[in-house]
């Protein structure tokens, strides 16, 4: 009986109690990915003051059970990773959505990845 319970808990453990998914979709031309942990500037309060072009739509989705909430700080790492993969230098137009279902707390973040049009690129 103990072994059976152990197997049940093993299977449940494999599911985890949190899920983070990140995606990006090119908006037009596909740009080469930058290194996974490249420097990305996040503009939360307005667009950058230098010329840029929107190149990707980014999405990060977090769900946690046990009534545990998520926020921007939990999604920031995955947002930057997706921006790098899409070839973006910076992130603008951040939109956050909180919702819940039963004991699951859901946080979704969508944003636009942009590429600077002048020569001063952030360091890789």
């Amino acid at each position: 009986m103990k072994h059976v319970l152990g197997l049940v808990f093993l299977a449940l453990g494999l599911c985890g109690c949190a899920a983070t998914t990140g995606n990006y979709r090119p908006l037009g031309e596909r740009y080469p990915a930058r290194p996974e942990h490249c420097e990305v500037v996040v503009f939360k309060d307005g667009p950058p003051g230098r010329p840029y072009a929107a190149i990707s739509r980014l999405n990060v989705h977090l769900e946690k059970t046990f009534f545990v909430d998520s926020d921007f700080s939990s999604a920031r790492g995955e947002l930057k990773r997706q921006a790098c993969l899409s070839g973006a230098d910076a992130v603008i137009d951040i939109e956050e959505k909180h919702s819940s279902y039963l004991e699951t707390r859901i946080y979704n973040l969508s944003a636009t990845g942009v590429r600077f049009l002048d020569d001063a690129r952030p360091p890789q």
């Binding site: 072994h3 059976v4 197997l7 049940v8 093993l10 299977a11 449940l12 453990g13 494999l14 599911c15 985890g16 109690c17 949190a18 899920a19 998914t21 995606n23 979709r25 739509r57 999405n59 989705h61 769900e63 946690k64 059970t65 046990f66 009534f67 959505k97 279902y101 039963l102 004991e103 699951t104 859901i106 979704n108 969508s110």
Partner: protein, 132 residues
């Protein structure tokens, strides 16, 4: 020996239940479609975005069909996830596309699952404008 085989069978079943999700079935002709005043390619991209915004991991992304599944999560009482959803598209004209959405719940963790059809359509409305 028998007991070892039984344990492996139980482990196999549990792992299977943890990993698999049901396949969504296309709603019948009696179910009305939702129509967007946009070309099929635009609506298809909006369908992919809508699934991802609702926590689905997209597994199929064809011109006329998009499918995804939500990862299972263990919880205090019922957990969540395990649903899969399909979005069927049909071009009515160069700027009109009919859409049908269906959520399927898996056997494992059904108590913590919900129908995501409305949320998926709402997300598509937000992205490409309200449907007719």
């Amino acid at each position: 020996m028998k007991s070892t085989a039984a344990k492996f069978a139980i482990a196999g079943c549990m792992l299977g239940l943890a990993g698999c999700s049901a396949t969504p079935t296309r709603p019948g002709d009696s179910v009305p479609s939702v129509v967007f005043n946009k070309p099929e390619a635009t609506v298809q991209k909006a369908a992919v975005d809508a699934l991802q915004a609702n926590g689905f991991v997209v597994s199929k992304s064809d011109a006329e069909y998009v499918e995804g599944a939500r990862p299972h999560k263990v919880g205090l009482v019922v957990g969540s996830g395990g649903e899969s959803a399909g979005v069927w598209l049909a071009s009515l004209s160069s700027d009109k596309t009919a859409v049908k959405v269906s959520t399927a719940k898996s056997f494992a963790g059904m108590a913590g699952q919900k129908n995501w059809d409305k949320e998926i359509i709402a997300e598509m409305d937000k992205s490409i404008g309200a449907h007719q």
